[in-house]
């Protein structure tokens, strides 16, 4: 009993500390995190839909899911480069990071449009 209670306490304490630590992040990073969450959620919806309806045409499913996953990954890269706490990227102006992000997204979506069918 005691162990369960302590683990429950631990879990709650963990949850609180996570929450407070996350609340301290700057707003622009939180926006990017929201975007990442949205992209992953969209990908999950597509997977559930495919599981229920069937995978034909497969190339459309693949391009849809991979476009969501792709923008999520690119947004995470942007977040890494824009984060002021990241010492490796302190020389990189955030405008350059955003320009790279836009360019990579352009290439990604060009490929997606080609593959969508």
């Amino acid at each position: 009993m005691a162990r369960e209670k302590s683990s429950k306490d631990n879990a709650q304490a963990l949850f609180h500390s996570l929450r407070s630590a996350y609340a301290a992040t700057p707003v622009n990073l939180k926006i990017i995190d929201l975007y990442v969450g949205f992209a992953v959620f969209t990908a999950l919806i597509q997977v559930v839909y495919m599981a229920s309806v069937g995978s034909f045409p497969f190339n459309s499913f693949l391009s849809g899911v991979l476009s969501c996953v792709g923008t999520a990954v690119l947004a995470v890269c942007l977040r890494i480069q824009v984060n002021k706490e990241n010492k490796e990227f302190k020389d990189l102006p955030p405008e350059r990071a955003f320009a790279d992000f836009v360019l990579c997204n352009l290439v990604l979506h060009l490929v997606i449009m080609n593959f969508l069918g």
Binding site: S7, N10, A11, A13, L14, S17, L18, A21, Y22, A24, T25, F58, N59, L62, S63, L66, V69, G70, V73, L74, V76, C77, L78, I80, Q81, E85, N86, E88, F89, L92, A97, D100, F101, L103, C104, V107, L108, V111, I112, N114, F115
Partner: protein, 785 residues
């Protein structure tokens, strides 16, 4: 060179001196690179000079035919092309089964040149594509090695790659094959990956994905990249080198790369469904887990992090096991565990010989012999271990990648001779690193010990690389130990070096090794000699060993030079003396050349995608005349082509390949048994040969009227007289034999109009006698029923 500059300048600030030297170095390396490109191009031109500007071998003829089609009809027709002139009656979907990179590249170059009003023919562009791209590949090697170790190593590696015989063998002028472009794409993709890893820039990650797309378009060997890079990422994670740059280098590549690979019709959905790509997805997931863990660790206090770990481990482990169980069940349900035949034969070298004789029969897929390593990479075989040691001092992300690359490529080159080609760039990179490091040490020792230069020690100390002294000493020692076998003075210098360990003159922070002057000079001269040996060997290999176009053969005799142009003679005869729709049957080796040069429909060709169809032709070649005639007649074949080298001693003829025909045919049609063709386990065609062998179609078509050449029928390749000398052909007639009897073409005789005395019923209706006899003749001994 440095001394007068420092003495003449009024205020010799360190900065301008450095800048001047850097500028001079930059211009010098630009010109060196230009020269390396010119050298790479020109060393591959031997076959054009010795023979003519002609496409070599077999596979390039197919690529050439596809490029011709692309140049004539445009890209939309090319994507949708269904070829009915090959694999009759099945045809082949060219748009979906060919790797388009090479043909699209050559087509683009041709179109560009023609739009600039430089009217080069398609053949010329095809012949010279490979040398141009080898120059580009050596520049890519320079860029890659510069990212790993610096400009000096880059230039050395580029010079080595421009001449390495293994790469020359597949990229001579005229060898218009996928590897010509693919090796450039491989090195360039690796360069962009390392660049992204070093800089963490998303721009280079995008370029990396595009270069990977070009590689997927060009060659089936792209699976090497998509397995090596995840392996390297895993290595970095395991050795504690995880950083955000690693994430940026790898994660966009996986997503964009998979999408781009799925765009290429040949790969299609295989990009997500075959085991060759699973490693990349697995490492993608692992990378995200690790990145998440690092992030949580960053924002939590250590105590809370421990709590998080215990919680997650207990829950997460259960989920993980469930997922892995599902995955394993999926993979194990397919008989080949999801891998394709060729990849499986790489992992398990005995797989092909047991299950897929066609893959085992290709000579390029055999394991290499030991001497072929020395022939193909020569001196680099000694320098590679030194380079690996030099990569470890200091170990960075990029040098660990080089070590991994060379370890895996050495293994794969040991499995298949064709993959020596992938090993060659790795060998050049590591050898370039080793050579340049040792040159660094020797020249610095000389510079330190020449009198009157001691004033420059400050300048030199500021410029030295950050490699530690002991490691350089080790690299030098390994270098020297390989050369002790050469001669005695280096042994003496080795002893001296041990006595005078770190004798330095530089600042206290960086302890530099200065070797004794005479040993440095001698070692420098020996290294240059080593390089000279390498150059001589490479030029010899390019001129003598790898420049044969194999469609034209030459031999020197006391009469002078003999040229054997029989292949083109036979194809030209076919082109001019047969109807456009006639079908030609031969062994699959000659399919591409027949469609490209003779422009006739063939039954099987080098693509070897349909094993049963090839087995059908193999069975026909191994059967007696009547059964073979029936098989060929059912395939609408009009002409049969065999290659015979017995008169001139050409060893790669069809009789030598015959046992493979028997094996492949016997794999599908069990009535063909290999022991029937061997006498006591030995393959013979003389009087001791088995009756099955002496009656089979291949024997008859090769040796028909052969006894008329010298009266005895002496086969120069097998070095015996043939067994059956005087015989007539009942179902075939000879229509053409080339000048040196190397290619022999036969025509199928039409079925007899009347058969006397066979069937009494047909006497009443003479008009239907021919059709009835044909039907009864075919229905009687058809080998498939």
């Amino acid at each position: 060179m440095a001394a007068p500059e420092t003495s003449t300048a009024a205020v010799p600030s360190l900065y301008t001196n450095n800048a001047l030297r850097n500028a001079f170095g930059g211009v010098l390396s630009f010109f060196i690179l230009l020269l390396i490109g010119v050298m790479a191009f020109s060393i591959r031109l031997f076959s054009v000079i010795k023979y003519e500007s002609v496409i070599h071998e077999f596979d390039p003829y197919f690529n050439y035919r596809v490029t011709q089609f692309l140049a004539k009809n445009g890209i939309y027709e090319f994507w949708n092309w269904f070829d009915d002139r090959t694999w009759y009656p099945l045809g082949r979907v060219i748009g979906g089964t060919v790797y388009p990179g090479l043909t699209l590249t050559a087509g683009t170059i041709w179109w560009l040149l023609n739009s600039l009003n430089i009217p080069l023919s398609v053949e010329t562009v095809c012949v010279f594509t490979a040398p141009i791209f080898s120059a580009l590949a050596s520049w890519a090697t320079f860029l890659l090695t510069k990212e790993v170790k610096g400009t000096g190593a880059g230039l050395t590696a580029a010079a080595l790659l421009a001449m390495v015989p293994s790469y020359i063998s597949r990229s001579v002028a005229g060898s218009y094959d996928n590897e010509a472009v693919a090796i450039f794409a491989l090195i360039f993709t690796f360069y962009l990956y390392i660049k992204t890893l070093n800089t963490g820039s998303l721009f280079y990650a995008t370029l990396n994905s595009i270069a990977y797309f070009y590689m997927v378009c060009s060659w089936g060997g792209y699976t090497f990249i998509i397995n090596l890079i995840p392996m390297h990422v895993l290595l970095c994670i395991v050795t504690g080198r995880f950083s955000s740059r690693l994430y940026i280098a790898y994660a966009p590549l996986v997503v964009l790369g998979t999408l781009l690979a799925a765009l290429v019709p040949v790969v299609g959905f295989n990009a997500v469904m075959t085991s060759e790509h699973f490693a990349s997805f697995l490492v993608f997931i692992i990378l995200h887990v690790v990145a998440f863990v690092y992030y949580i660790k960053g924002i939590l206090s250590p105590k809370m992090f421990k709590v998080a770990v215990t919680l997650v481990v207990s829950v997460g482990l259960a989920v993980c096991c469930a997922v892995i169980a599902v995955l394993i069940a999926l993979v194990a349900s397919s008989p080949t565990k999801g891998w394709s035949g060729r990849s499986l034969s790489l992992l398990d070298p005995t797989y092909a010989s047991k299950y897929i004789p066609i893959i085992a029969s290709v000579s390029e897929h055999q394991p290499p012999t030991w001497p072929s390593y020395f022939m193909d990479i020569n001196v680099l075989a000694f320098l590679v271990p030194a380079g690996i040691v030099a990569c470890f001092s200091p170990l960075s992300d990029s040098s660990s990648f080089v070590v991994l690359y060379i370890a895996t490529s050495v293994y794969f080159s040991g499995v298949m001779v064709r993959l020596m080609l992938v090993f060659a760039p790795a060998a050049c990179i590591t050898s370039g690193i080793a050579l340049s490091q040792s040159f660094d040490v020797f020249t610095r020792s000389i510079k330190f010990q020449l009198p009157g230069i001691s004033s420059n020690t400050e300048v030199d100390a500021a410029e030295t690389s950050s490699a530690t002294a002991e490691a350089q000493n080790d690299a030098v020692k390994t270098e020297k130990s390989e050369e002790t076998s050469k001669n005695r003075p280096s042994k003496k210098s080795k002893k001296k070096e041990k006595e005078e360990k770190p004798s330095t003159k530089a600042k206290a922070e960086k302890r530099l090794i200065a070797l004794p002057l005479d040993s440095s000079v001698i070692s420098l001269l020996l290294l240059i000699l080593l390089g000279a040996f390498y150059v001589v060997h490479c030029v010899w290999a390019a001129a003598e060993a790898y420049s044969a176009p194999s469609i034209v053969l030459t031999s020197h005799s006391h009469d002078g030079l003999h040229v054997f142009d029989d292949f083109r003679e036979a194809y030209a005869w076919l082109r001019h003396n047969t109807d456009v729709d006639d079908k030609v049957a031969s062994w699959w080796d000659y399919g591409y050349q027949t469609t490209a040069m003779a422009n006739r429909t063939v039954i099987v060709d080098n693509n070897t995608w349909n094993n049963t169809h090839i087995a059908t032709v193999g069975t026909a070649m191994s059967s007696p005349e009547k059964a073979a005639w029936e098989i060929f007649h059912s395939l609408d074949v009009k002409y049969v082509l065999v290659v015979f080298g017995g008169l001139v001693g050409y060893p790669s003829d069809d009789i030598n390949k015959f046992l493979w025909m028997v094996r492949i045919g016997g794999g599908v049609f069990p009535h063909i048994k290999e022991p029937d063709y061997l006498r006591d386990g030995q393959y013979r065609i003389d009087s001791q040969a088995t009756p099955t062998m002496l009656n089979c179609l291949m024997y008859k078509l090769s040796y028909y009227r052969f006894v008329e050449t010298d009266g005895k029928g002496f086969d120069r390749v097998r070095q015996t007289e043939i067994g059956k000398k005087y015989f007539k052909l009942t179902h075939f007639e000879e229509v053409f034999t080339t000048h040196h009897w190397m290619v022999r073409i036969y025509k199928l005789k039409p079925p007899k109009n009347r058969i006397r005395g066979k069937t009494k019923k047909s006497k009443s209706k003479t008009s239907s006698a021919s059709s009835r006899a044909k039907r009864s003749g075919m229905g009687k001994k058809n080998p498939w029923h």
